[in-house]
Amino acid sequence: MKAPLPHSGMEHAESHAHGNLKSYVVGFVLSLVLTIASFGTVMTDLVPHASRLATIVILCVVQLFVQLVYFLHMGTAKSQRQNTAIFACTSLLIVIVVAGSLWVMHNANVNMMPMSMSIQSALKHP
């Protein structure tokens, strides 16, 4: 978080690492708006069906970053750089695990599952 700490009196790493009331209120209001926007996308007819998935995924990612910055105080401050770097590495692993699983299993489904096979016929011919 780049926001300077107002009248805290100490430019100390720890105060950076714990935030202040303003950062919690800003994070809370933003999260509230993003959550309502997510549910609104699906529960109302304001967004066309074709772009709903993209909308909720974007809202999800934005809210993740809002909470990481305002609640977990992740950022480029000196005391937080280590955590941010670890988080970046973990994100890479998560993307590989999730995207890889979906991709591999999608291909397996498309190429290996006989489309005509139902549960009943599978049970008859083990």
Partner: protein, 200 residues
């Protein structure tokens, strides 16, 4: 570590014991993140494998999920407010915020258990289909984490009452704060990819 000046005595740039503990705890959280990533991947793979049973669209109620989401989000904020009281050394205020956070977390767990029991009652238990197995595993693992967080909240409140707001208590509170906010992060992914995605 001096009890009266928990952090002020540490002017060395961020490599004292307290910050190393936080980094260590952060690494634990990231490994927990990987557990959830694997469970989300499993859910993503199995989401259409309903084996002739009900799918999410027929089972989930979005207003209910919105209620759960709000409880967790507000509890995240109240915990943050508690952390600010802790840093200011206001013990009573901290305990009050911890109590509010605990009640909100407990309400969340109660709603989740109610949802689970309703599903099982409707015949949509975890053994019904691969979709429901992965649903119960993913959402149940998150609920288990929240339950552990609730137990930790009680232990933390007891420590603060018994030993006061010393450096050790502040360090542990900082870890619990990371844990509690982290659970809200996971829940954002849960309500987006498990619940909302069903109703596109």
């Amino acid at each position: 570590m001096s009890a009266s000046l928990p952090y002020a005595v540490h002017e060395t740039a961020g490599h004292d014991n307290a910050s190393m503990t936080t980094v260590g705890f952060w690494i634990y959280l990231m490994s927990d993140c990987l557990i959830f990533a694997v469970l989300f991947a499993t859910f993503g793979v199995l989401v259409h494998s309903t084996a002739g049973g009900p799918d999410g669209k027929g089972l989930f109620e979005l207003p209910f999920v919105l209620g759960e989401t709000m409880l967790l989000l507000v509890s995240s904020f109240t915990f943050g407010a508690g952390m600010l009281s802790a840093q200011a050394g206001r013990k009573k205020q901290l305990l009050a915020w911890l109590a509010v956070t605990f009640v909100l977390g407990l309400a969340f767990i109660a709603m989740e258990l109610h949802e689970f029991s309703t599903l099982i009652h409707e015949g949509a238990g975890p053994s019904k289909s691969a979709f429901l197995s992965s649903f119960f595993t993913l959402v149940g693992t998150h609920g288990l984490h929240v339950t552990c967080g609730l137990a930790w909240l009680i232990v933390m409140a007891h420590q603060v009452v018994r030993f006061g707001l010393d450096g050790i208590a502040l360090r542990r509170l900082a870890c619990l704060s990371l844990f509690w906010h982290f659970l809200d992060l996971i829940w954002i992914c849960v309500f987006t990819f498990v619940y909302l995605r069903e109703f596109l």
